[in-house]
């Protein structure tokens, strides 16, 4: 497949870097100020070097990305809430011109799911978004394999930063502020960790799961969300006395979405440590399935994008 990648952050750059290994060709990559476009395949190394040097990935107008011949738009711009722009418009543009779209950007899938599906229905292209939930972990494709009707609920840990902080607090008896500073030093937490620690990031992923289970109907405002900022070390100590620990747990079902700090058995499957993520799928006929792994990171998330590309049907008529 010929890929046009919009967004040149960790994920977009990793997709460009790994595309060749997966048998695909990058014909365009754009960031907010420029683009590298070549119908015969761009020089990926050159584009990534420019980006690493603080420049744009290329000198072309970012809009020219949509004018080149491509099969799949990879939408990897930063997640935005509400109208989910500019991601939504990128997807719209690709579908209206009968191209496939693979999203790593959670915004459009969480906030405007029904509109995305309506655009897809009118297009020869299709959309996939494995990378939006759980990074490298195959969550949506597992649900797809089980058929969404046979999955009654999904719960688990889908934010590595919050999980890292809670793990360290429990292990070292340290307070939130202290561990957050450590996580920022290690690069586990961003300079502004708000969406990770207040539950928004996890909530977006569980909203997407609820949309997949219920075939739409949810956006972030339908979710009940609590973060971990108010959890002191003493709460984790008390939990540990009882053989439990506290994790930022999300739950998605056809009835709703909820994210908040919860008591879970210390040695239970959901009490993953560090930045690891886990999703538990509750099935109608087969009990629980657990998928665990790395929930973030450029190359990790890029593998989910490229797996999605591999699942797309051919566009040839």
């Amino acid at each position: 497949m010929r890929l046009a990648i919009v967004g040149a952050g960790d994920v977009g750059r990793s997709v460009a870097d790994l595309a060749g290994e997966y048998g695909h060709e990058v014909v365009a990559i754009a960031d907010s100020s420029g683009a590298a476009v070549d119908a015969d395949g761009i020089d990926v190394e050159r584009a990534l070097e420019r980006k690493a040097g603080g420049e744009s990935v290329g000198t072309a107008d970012p809009a020219t990305l949509f004018e080149t011949d491509y099969d799949v738009l990879v939408e990897a711009t930063p997640t935005t809430l509400g109208d989910a722009e500019p991601g939504f418009t990128h997807v719209e543009r690709a579908l209206e011109t009968d191209h496939h779209v693979v999203l790593a950007n959670k915004g459009p899938v969480a906030e405007r799911y029904e509109e995305l599906r309506a655009l897809e229905a009118d297009s020869a292209g299709s959309i996939r978004f494995e990378a939006t939930v759980g990074g490298a972990i195959p969550v949506l494709s597992t649900i797809e394999d089980c058929t969404p009707q046979a999955v009654t609920a999904a719960r688990g840990v889908l934010n590595g930063t919050a999980n890292f902080i809670l793990t360290r607090m429990a292990a070292e008896g340290l307070d939130y502020e202290h561990v957050l500073a450590e996580a920022q030093d290690l690069g586990v937490a961003e300079a502004d960790p708000t969406f990770d620690v207040d539950g928004t990031d996890a909530a977006l992923k569980f909203v997407i799961l609820a949309n997949v289970l219920a075939d739409g109907g949810f956006s972030l405002e339908d979710a009940t969300v609590e973060g971990i900022q108010d959890i002191p070390g003493s709460a984790l100590e008390l939990a540990a006395e009882d053989g439990r620990t506290i994790r930022l747990i999300g739950e998605a079902s056809r009835e709703g979405v909820r994210v908040g700090p919860r008591l879970v058995p210390e040695n239970g499957a959901l009490a993953v440590t560090g930045t690891r993520n886990i999703v538990q799928l509750e099935t109608k006929h087969a009990g629980s399935l657990h998928n665990s792994g790395r929930g973030a990171g450029g190359p990790e998330t890029a593998t989910a994008v490229l797996s999605d590309v591999g699942r797309l049907p051919s566009l040839e008529e």
């Binding site: 108010d230 002191p232 003493s234 009882d242 747990i249 919860r262 008591l263 959901l270």
Partner: protein, 186 residues
Amino acid sequence: MADVPESDEEEPETDGGVRAYTVRLELVDEPGELLRALEPISANGGNLLSIHHERGNITPRGHIPVEVDLESPPERFDGIVDALRDAGINVIQAGAEHYGEELSVVLVGDLVETDLSETLSRIEDEADAVVKDLSLAAPEGTNATASARLRLAIDSGRAERVFEAIRAVGTDKELTVVEPLVGGEA
């Protein structure tokens, strides 16, 4: 004689219209408590069939479970249960539900400042739960943020309602409520 007086028609139909019910009660271990529990049953049209008084089997709440089989017209059964409750008797099962679960929750906030004992009473009253055990951790002194772990005895199948009530108390008192994750193979 052939005319049935009007007033009789308002009497509940009992002939042929009775059903058997089992009611599980929890009694405080005090003299006269059993008699006090049975009185509202007969006073409200229930007919006692058998009483199983499990003295050796103390409930998680430290009370004595009593199982009462009775028969009454279906339309009067709710009245009997209400009368028992009005008399201060703990009805733990009158149909499908009974006490049987234990849950832990952790509360975080200015627990002392916001009157911990009142918080516990409210949880017992509003969530219809019994606080069995409390652990408090206030590493920065009682005037700062503290954490408490509560072990609660609740009716089986009522966990969601209990959490709703605890959440409401938490919201009122600006406490963070960390609930256990229920359901699934955690």
